[in-house]
Symmetry: C2
Amino acid sequence: MKKTALIMAGGKGERFWPKSRINLPKQFLSLTGDGKTMIQLTVERISSIVDIKDVYVATNQLYKNLVLEQLQGIPEENILCEPVGKNTAPCIGLGAIHAHVHHDDAIMIVLPSDHLIKNQKAFVETLREACDVAEKGENLVTIGITPNYPETGYGYIHYDKQNCLLSANAVKKFVEKPNIELAEEYLKSGEYLWNSGMFVWKVSTILHNYKELMPDIYEGLCTIQNSIGTDSYTEILNKEFQTFRSESVDYGIMEHAKNIYSLPGNFGWDDVGSWLAVGRIKENDVNGNIVNGNVVTVDTKDCIIEGQDKLIATVGLCDIVIVDTKDAILVCDKKSTGNIKKVLSQLRDLDKICYL
Amino acid sequence: MKKTALIMAGGKGERFWPKSRINLPKQFLSLTGDGKTMIQLTVERISSIVDIKDVYVATNQLYKNLVLEQLQGIPEENILCEPVGKNTAPCIGLGAIHAHVHHDDAIMIVLPSDHLIKNQKAFVETLREACDVAEKGENLVTIGITPNYPETGYGYIHYDKQNCLLSANAVKKFVEKPNIELAEEYLKSGEYLWNSGMFVWKVSTILHNYKELMPDIYEGLCTIQNSIGTDSYTEILNKEFQTFRSESVDYGIMEHAKNIYSLPGNFGWDDVGSWLAVGRIKENDVNGNIVNGNVVTVDTKDCIIEGQDKLIATVGLCDIVIVDTKDAILVCDKKSTGNIKKVLSQLRDLDKICYL
């Protein structure tokens, strides 16, 4: 069966400020040091399964040119610009109707554009297995990540060890982000996976689920679908999207649907959720520092330092993140990377929008 | 009696890197935010006692133009360029012979160029009293600072409460930098002052002491003195200075001389020994931060942030010093400001001398 992919690339990447900006969010940056941006790596990673002509990218108008520049060979009409961010349910629905119009039915692989994966081979194998499961019925397949510590920042997937289809397990339940005690239980049980936001299904299956579980959004999607290829497409897309409620596909579909299967992913996944991810991705020096650029460190350990041309000298620091850019420097304690968004809100309040 | 001053301005100010550089050390910077540099403040402070025409500045050739630019009205021949730094004894001797040639005898006030004083009026009063004591005999007068905490980074002056001359006390002994226990004893006794490096004496008195206590240096000084105003001055100065041993006036003269008096200074003195001094000089905000420039702080307290044009954003920091300049940024824990010199030595090792 024809295989297509929907890459979700509408995020603002605020947690990677000041390197990521409103005009250049995380998915369009190279964080691995190999010069390839995260969205390029995402598309490259599936290139043995999905032809670039069958890759759709859901993003917003602001990033359309970035997508065209960074993804060589992608048809312009495959760049789907959401008029407004309404979470993943409307976004994935939009991808599904476009794939339906182009291919009638097909396998649809849904991937975030800003995750990193170390073991490409294992990832591709898992994805192929997921495609097989998806093709074998009206199944919704999610790629879970085998947890290696009790993370409280992700949702979890509770799967049924006894109930298998090929190499996938039936999903008992999607659960919200747990507290630390619950997360430790989940980890110990061996029956939970992290919800990575990577899905595989047939276009027909997911559209059927929208019809059943989110009929209001389904109706809007149908209206949009009828306008694809016509002059009124943009107008209708804008109008319908405005009316959509903001909803995740997890909550809107996955938590209520039948025939959900999960494949455990063991391929060195990282959602690159904050600057701390750089510490997991890159190799550190003998003092535990990750240093890039024109940097001199004295009595400095476990720091992440992203320099530019300007010399950065550090003395007596521990667990600090320093990021220099053309017009802004961030100095942030590792424990506080979650509060970088407060900088952005202050910048908005102070009308220093040029730094956003 | 005619009053002259010798301002010692040859220091490299390494502890204020990256704002101070080899080409622009601390004494030529404004750290108070009033736009006046430290050497300008030093000269302005004594302007009611010493005419600018009678101010000598000992520095090195590298800084001669800075002195001329910053001290309006100073005669060029009053800028005494030490060919090489040999600590304070040769430097002060050089000042003394120049004052002797110009004025035969005069009062000579010796001041570092990089100290800050809050209460100008009290300072001037103390200085006038010191001049009176110096004039009243062959006395060497030092301005001590009444300690308010057990500092271990300064030498101390042990004075004799019973033995007074005008408002000065005879000095029993100069003592080296103490350990913390000794410093606490000194503080408790009420008989010790910090050695500030500010001295007052007659030119004739100090030259007599050089003759008695440092005859080798005295001989060289006489040779230099004979060349003042001749074409061979620079050549002879260079030659003699090279032969001088490096010695402080404290060790070479003050610890061995007779008739030493000390006046307790209570005028809000700060030797601006490190970036921490900025925390004592400038007013901090409600979170204890001293912030200058284009800065946004989130959950940040007790930090010193000296910005430039570039935005500096801090998140979750405590007790950190951040100094941005045109080409270098320093991020330093407050406890580690003493190790900034290690940055400079690394920069030398790495041949990044443009940042020195």
